[in-house]
Structure formats: C-alpha cells, structure tokens
C-alpha cells in the first residue's frame, strides 16, 4: 500500500512538472536568462511554479506535522541541522552551474526519461555518477574539514 501510494505521489509530482512546463529545459533556461529581460525572451514561469509549490507546502506541512506520526512510518524525518557551513554554499553553487548549463535539475531530468529522449538518459547517467562521487568523497575522513562526517544526504 505504501509503495503504491509513493508511486502515485511521484506521478503527481511528474504531472506537476509537465503542467508547469518545467519538464522543458528551454523554459528553465529562459527563466535563468536575466539578460533576456532587456533583450526579450525572459520567461518568469519558474517563479510561479515555486510560488505555487511553496504556498501549498507552507500550509500543508503545518497541517500534516500536527499528526503524531506519518501513515506508514514511525516518525517524521525532518532535517535537524541549522549551522551554515562551506558545503551549504559550495554544493548549491556547483549545482546551479550544472542547472544553468543544461536546464535540468533532478526532478525534471527523471521525468524527461519518460519522454524517451537520449539526452535525458545521458544527463541522468552523469547525474547519478556525480551523486555517487559526492557520497564516496563525503565519507573520506581527509575531507572532514569541508564535509561534515554525518549523513551526506540529510537535506
């Protein structure tokens, strides 16, 4: 039951990406093109996607987190860390460069696999490689100065 629900939840996320236009890298890149405000071609749609999503989660999370526990888990797994370190700048900085190069971030890239395009498969394969590398390096003790030695995946 929980598995089926998580499939449906992923499906809703995917439909949201399709309806919002975020499955199209051209639309993402045209949002990131601030130079396009002056020269024409800027597409502010992505800001509306973020606004729509944050509005629903801002209200919805408060509603859900009032419950004693999730439907199919013992507790809520919420990020507990508060401190700002090098990683919280360096990681997103690299992420943003990759995002600006191809117009793909992880959600839209995975949904693009369903379009059957060769480009999406190349991007996702490289993305998984990058993820694996970051997890591997994050566990090396010699990197503990820039990589806090706790679960590198905790949001």
């Amino acid at each position: 039951m929980a598995i089926l629900l998580q499939f449906a939840i992923g499906l809703i996320f995917g439909f949201g990406l399709l309806l919002s236009g975020m499955s199209d890298p051209a639309k993402v890149l045209n949002f990131l093109d601030l130079g396009g405000i002056a020269s024409g071609g800027w597409d502010p749609s992505l800001a509306f996607v973020m606004a729509g999503a944050v509005a629903v989660t801002f209200v919805g999370f408060r509603f859900v987190l009032r419950r004693p526990q999730p439907l199919f888990a013992e507790r809520f797994h919420l990020p507990a860390r508060r401190e700002l370190d090098v990683r919280i700048i360096a990681g997103p900085a690299l992420f943003g460069i990759g995002w600006g190069l191809a117009g793909f971030c992880p959600g839209p890239a995975l949904t693009a696999l369903g379009f059957g395009s060769r480009a999406a498969f190349i991007f996702v394969a490289a993305m998984l490689g990058g993820m694996w590398l970051a997890r591997f390096l994050g566990k090396l003790p010699s990197l503990s100065a820039i990589a806090t030695p706790i679960d590198p995946l905790e949001t």
Binding site: L5, I9, F13, L19, F95, P106, A119, P152, L153
Partner: protein
Amino acid sequence: MTVTTFTPVASTIGGALIGLSAVMLMAVSGRIAGVSGIAARLLPPYEDDQFAGRLAFVAGLVAAPVLTLATRGQLPAQTIEAGTVTLVLAGLLVGFGSVWGNGCTSGHGVCGLSRLSLRALVATLTFMATGFATVFIARHWS
C-alpha cells in the same frame, strides 16, 4: 535559444501539484520530497529500508509523461539544446552539487523554504545566483 511562452496560470497550478505531492509524501512516509536525495539513495550504500518506496516515487516521475502520451496522445514541448559533452558535465555538477549541498530545487527550494529553513534559503539563493551567472555567460558573454 528557443523562445518559450510565459505561462503564469499553468505554472502556478503545476507548482501547486508539486507542493501537494510533497505534502502527501510527508503524510505517508514522513520524509522531505527532495528528488536529489531520493535519487541518490537509490545508489549503494543503503542506510535504511526505504529503497522500494523511493524507486516507486521515481517510477511515478518517469511514468507521468508515459501516461500523458497514452491518454492524451501528445506531450508538452521539450527542447534540449545541450550537446553530449555539456549534458555529461551538467549532470555531474547537478548530481555532485545536490548531494554535497544536501538538496536541490525541490528539497531546498520548495520543502526547505516553506519550512523557513535558513540553510535552504542560503542554498536556494546560491544555486539561483550561479544558475543566473552561468546562463548569462553562455548567452551574453561574447
């Protein structure tokens, strides 16, 4: 570059669906709908027993266009201009950066911001800034 149309209504409703999905995942599995975290945990080493649920979520993401094509006969526009080398480099940076920074557009940008997390705000402002800079250099630096 490919010209795209500003779609405020469809994008807001689509965004709301993404938000609904994140709220539902929290209600069902008690976890943040961060796509990078979910995808990265499909790779070993496995630290919990949530593999099947994560795979189901990703399968849902991939199935959305497949079901759309099957029921409506067409897919929304998708233009990928990047060549193979750019796609590989971009994929590596997105994958590495999202794990190194503990999240991506969904985990930090949607879930984190709505939880008023300072880390998520810093992460979101940072990837927005380098995203803007990258496209500016690619398109206007000549």
